[in-house]
């Protein structure tokens, strides 16, 4: 596979940089992403059915707003916007981890089937729990993230296991992921077809990825996942740089490849499952965010922190756009798919010139 060879040269430059501190351009991109995320969060709190101005929002956040504003900001909008930020960050980071680990930008949790596994777990919780669907409902909020994580972990193990043939070729991994996505999607539609129409509508709404049902109760698990996993992922950052050089060189440089891989996969899977259980699968964020950041920062592999921030920007911005500009209640997952799929297609059409996506 020629794609891998060119990836490898890109990996060398990343490996060289890994040891020398963070380049200035990466810092600049990270700061820009952070500012954009904050700005979009404020806009996201402001837009909606009863719309506020951004200064109103800032005043209310710092305790100087009217009671009506406080109700709107703290009770209605804030959980949604914070949820969007965290879900986006989790997806962006998960995508950066899997793309780096597989040395292929197409290897995202969506394409590898992990998202579908989490979705199947969550939908089975929604449908089999039988009751009415509200994300805030006690049993589900406790159960949903756990079931989604189980589904995601199981899928990752199965996909990785099937892709293993004395080593993992990233294209085989991706194709097997596509197959697994189909099978899991079929099982999910089976569950939905057997559900009551109200549950089916809720599950379909949830399956396109929406922040509308999010509450503080569903935000906490994502926050917890991020707090635990971000330090672990950052600690693996140097090893990620080295592992870009290929297994043989990594082993030669003293990286415990299998253990490193396992840690990276589990991090990515748990982040994905946490995000999916809060908001449903918001497609293409994990693919797009790291790739945009990598191009902006001109690095060989996506920088982790700014990928997470870019994910937050995309989800919060997409949700604000959907609420403020588009008519009706459009789930953010549709916005991200409409942006992300053409971007993926555009990357594919450029393959001839560059012979590699990365």
């Amino acid at each position: 596979m020629t794609g891998l060879d060119t990836n490898r040269t890109a990996g060398v430059s990343a490996g060289n940089r890994a040891g020398r501190g963070v380049p200035a351009r990466v810092v600049a991109v990270t700061v820009a992403c952070l500012l954009a995320a904050v700005a979009l969060a404020l806009v996201g709190i402001a837009v909606g059915s009863s719309s506020l101005t951004v200064p109103d929002v800032v005043r209310t956040l710092f305790g100087g707003g009217s009671p009506a504003h406080e109700l709107v900001v703290f009770e209605l909008r804030l959980p949604r916007v914070v949820g969007g930020l965290l879900v986006g960050a989790a997806l962006g980071l998960a995508g950066a981890l899997t793309q780096t680990f597989a040395r292929n930008p197409l290897a995202t949790p969506d394409i590898l089937g992990v998202t579908s596994g989490a979705a199947l777990g969550a939908v089975s919780a929604i449908v089999l729990a039988g009751g009415s669907y509200t994300v805030g409902a006690g049993l589900l909020t406790l159960g949903l993230p756990a079931v989604a994580t189980l589904g995601a972990l199981g899928t990752a193990a199965v996909v990785y296991g099937f892709a293993w043939r004395g080593g993992v070729d990233s294209y085989r991994l991706i194709l097997i992921g596509i197959g697994a996505t189909a099978t899991l999607g079929g099982l999910t539609s089976y569950l939905i077809a057997r559900a009551q129409i109200t549950e089916a509508a809720a599950a379909s709404q949830w399956l396109v990825g929406s922040l509308s049902g999010i509450s503080w109760a569903s935000v906490w698990p994502v926050l917890l996942a991020l707090v635990v996993i971000v330090p672990i992922a950052l600690a693996q950052s140097a090893n990620l740089g080295i592992s870009q050089l290929g297994d043989d060189i990594s082993v030669g440089l003293g990286v415990a490849v299998q253990r490193h891989r396992l840690i990276v996969i589990v991090c990515a899977v748990v982040l994905t499952a946490a995000a999916v259980s809060a908001s449903g699968p918001i497609e293409f964020v994990a693919f797009v965010a790291p790739q945009i950041v990598r191009r902006l920062a001109r690095t060989g592999r996506p920088p982790l922190v700014s990928s997470a921030l870019m994910g937050a920007v995309i989800v919060t911005g997409g949700d604000a756009f959907a609420r403020g500009v588009l008519p009706g209640e459009v789930p953010v997952g549709i916005v991200t798919a409409v942006i992300g799929a053409p971007y993926l297609i555009w990357l594919l059409t450029r393959r001839k010139e560059r012979e590699s996506l990365s």
Partner: protein, 336 residues
Amino acid sequence: MPRSVATSSRRALVLVVLGLGVLVMTVVSLMLGSNLLGVGTVLTGLFDPSQDVGSVVWGSRVPRTVLGLFVGFCLGIAGAVMQGQTRNPLADPGIFGVSAGASLAVVIGVYVLGTSSITTTLWLALAGAAVASVVVFGVAALGRGLSSPVPLAIAGTAVSALLIALTSYLVLSDETTLAAYRIWVVGSLSGRTLDGVDAALLFAVAGLVFAAANIRSLNNLALGTELAHGLGENLLRARLVGLAAITLLTASAVAITGPIGFIGLTAPHIGRSLVGGDHYWLLPASGLIGASLLLACDVIGRLIGGNAEVSVGVVLTVLGGIVFIAIVRRGRIAAL
């Protein structure tokens, strides 16, 4: 490319056996369901529609069996043409976004025109399938080329994702569209009648004619585009004829049952292992295998669901994903 050394008579025998298989599956499909009918009962019902059992046989079992045969046959051949055209073993109208294009067009029809009659559905499905297949092929051709399995598969996935997102948008914004779409989209044979099938049949026959006209080109293309060109093959014409066959066959199948994936993937693979790579034999074999396979999956869906049966599209997606993985794991993904 694995070419079987089987003689023509052996291949003809294989086709006869496959034909018998279709016959057996037809009988099984008529017999099995929420209540089991014996062969005698089925025959009584068939020839004497006035009896009670006649209404079961003619009202439910016959339509779905006939439609299953029809859809499976179309999709099997569409898959074989698609795999031959792209020289890509993972080609399938469902995986490559053709069915998603047809779905979107049909949902737009339900949403905008408020109609779901079979004739409008058919034309919309045809338009959607044509646009989606041209886009997928175009993206892959602009990129690294059609024969590399990964770009085409991913281009299809991306186009599908985009179309499905747009479809969900329409479906979620309208309750009646959701109700119509929810049943149709998973690809089901239950509750379909034979009304309006003649229109679909017309499309399918046109598609079959294009497929038959494409056989020689497919065999030449199997040698590689350069050799095919050297043999005097008009590549553009060969591609257009193939595209017409794929689009017509997929659209007529999708219009009837909703998108059903993986028949087009699986049937040609089984066919190739039985009759070899010569498309003169492979196309009819794939059609027959597709028909048997679809009926088998429909019967499985009827049996495992209990009272609420599982639609054939869901059975196929679950099984087909596994077949897809098996094909990838065999590792000959670049061997076609």
